[in-house]
Symmetry: C2
Subunit: 227 residues, 2 copies
């Protein structure tokens, strides 16, 4: 099926549209369209002025930033159901990071001006935007704490734990994106990530296979390196 009629249900369940309500959702959806992009595609580039908000329907996208010397890192990885880049689009300022498809992706493009008018006109949509931003702020705060306080092994453990679908004790974390991107997201080199993953497997808390990690015991995973 070429362009699978977009999964309305996924949208409805996304935290953003759940808060915004049905009315706002249809309002935003009408002028929007979907796009399929291969892994490696750039959705938008650092310093560009945003014309669209992006709602990921499938795949994952890395928010990557370049510093003055040209080295890049991944600030955050977004998955299906997430709406991102609101901040730049809302402020009308240039993106401070680029968006790169880390896997093949399917993305809903929402015109930025429609969005901006929407939040001014519809209080429920405004509220949803506020909550989205607040949640994203917390995500970043959490990452700052992670980087400052926790050693590599703990960061990897937490990352994997968050990817296990259920709260349950065991489960499988899919890792479809390139190791380099995951490593950058975690603030380490691919080499260190690889070694850390091996160390976790050696401790028996995970079991590695090509593009996934089976978490044997979530609670114990989060305990590794505990003082």
């Amino acid at each position: 099926m070429p362009d699978r009629p977009l999964n309305i249900d996924l949208l409805r369940r996304s935290p953003f549209f759940a808060a915004a309500g049905e009315a706002a959702m249809t309002r935003l959806l009408r002028p929007s369209f979907t796009q399929q992009l291969p892994r490696g595609a750039i959705l938008f580039d650092q310093n560009e002025v945003p014309n669209f908000l992006h709602l990921l329907l499938a795949g994952s996208v890395g928010l990557q930033a370049r510093d003055e010397t040209g080295t890049e890192t991944v600030v955050e990885i977004f998955g299906a159901g997430e709406l991102f880049l609101a901040p730049a689009a809302i402020l009308g300022l240039p993106y401070l990071a680029s968006g790169a498809a880390l896997t093949d992706v399917r993305v809903l493009m929402i015109p930025a001006d429609v969005f901006r008018e929407g939040i001014a006109a519809d209080p429920a949509l405004g509220q949803a935007a506020i909550e989205l931003l607040a949640r994203h702020w917390r995500l970043m705060v959490d990452q700052v704490v992670d980087l400052k306080l926790r050693p590599a092994e703990r960061r990897v453990a937490r990352f994997l734990a968050r990817r296990v679908p259920e709260e349950a004790g065991a489960g499988t974390a899919d890792l479809p994106e390139p190791r380099g991107a995951i490593a950058a997201r975690l603030g380490m080199t691919p080499e260190t990530l690889s070694r850390t993953l091996n160390a976790l497997e050696a401790q028996g808390v995970i079991r590695l296979s090509p593009r996934q990690a089976h978490v044997v015991d979530r609670a114990r995973l989060l305990q590794v390196g505990a003082r």
Copy 2:
């Protein structure tokens, strides 16, 4: 009011109230009150449910977070004119960090419920909240990039540069808060901060004195360690 001299002008010029408008400002101000607290005071504690937003009138406040092992770090340092902790107050979720006075402070306490009602009722206020959150998100993204990509010396240099009042080539950066707090904000130990500051002075880009650093040449400061 014993505490008369509320500097209305500072408020009016703060990015937040500038966007919110006069009406929203008076609306929020009426039920609010100011408080003076000595250095070391805790404005609010991690995991508490927020009852107030805080607008700093004077001094600086550190947002500090504890991890599971009990070690603390400073996520961000806020200065006069800044409104913070909106995210927790807006979501009605527990703070994910504590607020500690890093100097003696004077702070305006805005009841959280008044704020929440306000953003629902007044679109201009809602818009201001959105912009505030977006700006704060960007601050955190910038810090994540800083921590991942830049070595200690460069982080210190950028921190000092941002504290120089004017865009001008030279100026003095005040550093009233304890070294430990600044070091934590920058993701390093006090020892490393001390050594780095000395190194910058040795290179002649700054001149140190007890609680401030005179920046001799802003542009050159930002160049240190350039590849």
